[in-house]
Symmetry: C2
Subunit: 329 residues, 2 copies
């Protein structure tokens, strides 16, 4: 059994949890050369160009179903890449978008997806500037796959390793609702919750100067992403259980399926570390965008990520593992 696992790729390798990290590390070790680029282990890579930084990132999207409450594959392929640039403090300049389409795919659905791409791109003010389209024989791809890459420009890079002792952790709103929307349409479960997919570049541009570290908790959810910030920043992060940013219905569906809600993904939310003294200002700015931003924890000296329960005990938060992490993008 053990041997077989090493010989072929498993689904878990793509889930965003522990296994995913191992596979990605193995491949990255082979193909990544640093060159003049920096921050290659963050959401994007950066290159000094003149007196600013070019930021470059990519993501592949295959989602089931392709249309879901609150969005579709087109919308998230735009939001995801714009948000990765924004999390690094960059102003997104343009996206590339490549589609791989299954023969027999509905032209009506393709146009609907294209319109959704256009809408998200226009709302964010970030154009799709170059692309590619491939068509594969029936059965060689599941409906449609979209890969976007994005370029942004930044005066100053916000890094995953930037959280400082004394910072507070804020979220831009409740988390995990993208996973709830996808699971509810996959399992035909009734809920009012819709995908939280949304571009965040305008918000981030206004608060960037206060932000020490930021991530959009997509694959792997809050757990994987807050752990990444803590590890790279070499700090301890303590989240308060009573402040965890999940709606009752999100918690209910997680409980029903027996999946850790901390692994539920968002496609239009961020978590950020900011100085305690700036937190109020940042929350005020975010609330002007109608975001239900709030403080959920703080950064301390030490290592690891912990949940402080309502009873006062500290429970370690661990990296989501294996099939329990539903693939949502």
């Amino acid at each position: 059994m053990k041997k077989e696992k090493l010989e072929t790729i498993e689904l878990d390798h793509g889930g965003g949890g522990q296994k995913s990290s191992e596979l990605i590390s193995a491949i990255r070790n082979i193909i990544s050369d640093k060159g003049k680029w920096k921050n290659q282990m963050d959401d994007g890579a950066t290159l000094k160009v003149g007196n600013q930084y070019l930021v470059f990132t990519t993501d592949a999207y295959i989602v089931d179903p392709i249309f879901f409450p609150g969005g579709d594959i087109g919308k998230i392929s735009v939001c995801g890449t714009i948000n990765d640039l924004a999390m690094m403090g960059a102003i997104p300049q343009g996206l590339s978008l490549s589609m791989v389409i299954e023969e027999g795919f509905s032209v009506k659905d393709l146009l609907k997806i294209s319109q959704s791409i256009q809408k998200a791109s226009r709302e964010a003010g970030v154009p799709i500037v170059t692309g590619d389209t491939k068509v594969l024989p029936k059965g060689k791809i599941d409906k449609i796959e979209i890969t976007t890459a994005g370029v942004g420009l930044a005066k100053k890079i916000i890094s995953n390793s930037g959280a400082e002792i004394g910072d507070v952790i804020i979220t831009s709103g409740d988390l995990g609702e993208h996973t709830v929307a996808l699971l509810s349409s996959r399992f035909n479960y009734k809920t009012k919750i819709i995908s939280d997919s949304k571009t965040l570049n305008k918000e981030m541009q206004l608060i960037a100067k206060f932000v020490h570290s930021a991530k959009d908790p997509t694959r792997g959810g809050l757990a994987a992403n807050i752990i990444e910030i803590a590890e790279k920043s070499k700090v301890k992060i303590v989240l308060k259980e009573e402040l965890l940013p999940y709606k009752k219905e999100t918690l209910a569906i997680a409980g029903l399926l027996g999946i850790d809600v901390l692994s539920f993904a968002s496609e239009g939310r961020f978590i950020a570390a900011v100085s305690e003294k700036d937190a109020k200002k940042v929350l005020q700015i975010l609330r002007k965008f109608n975001l239900e931003a709030k403080i959920i924890g703080k950064v301390e000296k030490g290592r690891g990520v912990f949940l402080k329960t309502v009873l006062g005990s500290l429970r370690p938060i661990e990296m989501p593992r294996g099939k329990l992490v539903p693939r949502i993008c």
Copy 2:
């Protein structure tokens, strides 16, 4: 029949011929916003940054078989994107690379592909700086798909619309050998010809100042690509039949399969329009790279692309259409 064709995507839509252009135009009309970017209908888009241009391009690669004589899917995914940047006069700075892998895919093959990516990237001096990896359930993708995007910097953009009356058309070497290699492994046909896949950025960097227009004839081959230059430059291009850059074996396999050799693709060759007075210098530089570069035609006043036969008659070259264009990348 006609109606059905409008309702679903067909394989021809991805072939690089006439149908492909129609589908791409329809989607582009919806999703492309110009913004501050230019040249969006060339191989990439350009943005002025300081005193230079940022060039941005993308391509998706699914190839059958994934390993073929002279290369594999990893190699062409690097060559294709680097060459698109180089054709526009840019010095490639870095690539993004996203992989979508089928569950059960051999880890050994994945490592082999990764090593091939590394080799092509190092030879070109262009690092892979950011990426993504997704794993899909068995049957949801055919083995592996790779999408690369690339960013380059240029002082001056070489455009598809730049060919001038009086220019000569040169090729960097014989064409179509990527298609021959793929078809020979697909049909188990014996040939000594291997894929021509190769990065061309170092060569282009040295001749860029002489080049008015350049393209790497991938999908759609010489026919589609020379037609694109002629149409965008609003000129007539006449190629000489006795100078057509194909090996005997390439012509033989095209004849055997009844496919127009002019649609056979290369993944490491270019065609370029240069002033007649600079042609000798350009050919000398290219020959130092062991490339069998030569002049194959000239740019005249008028419209269209023609083949001047050995008997002296002019035969129009037309855009490859439909299923006769084998998908090779």
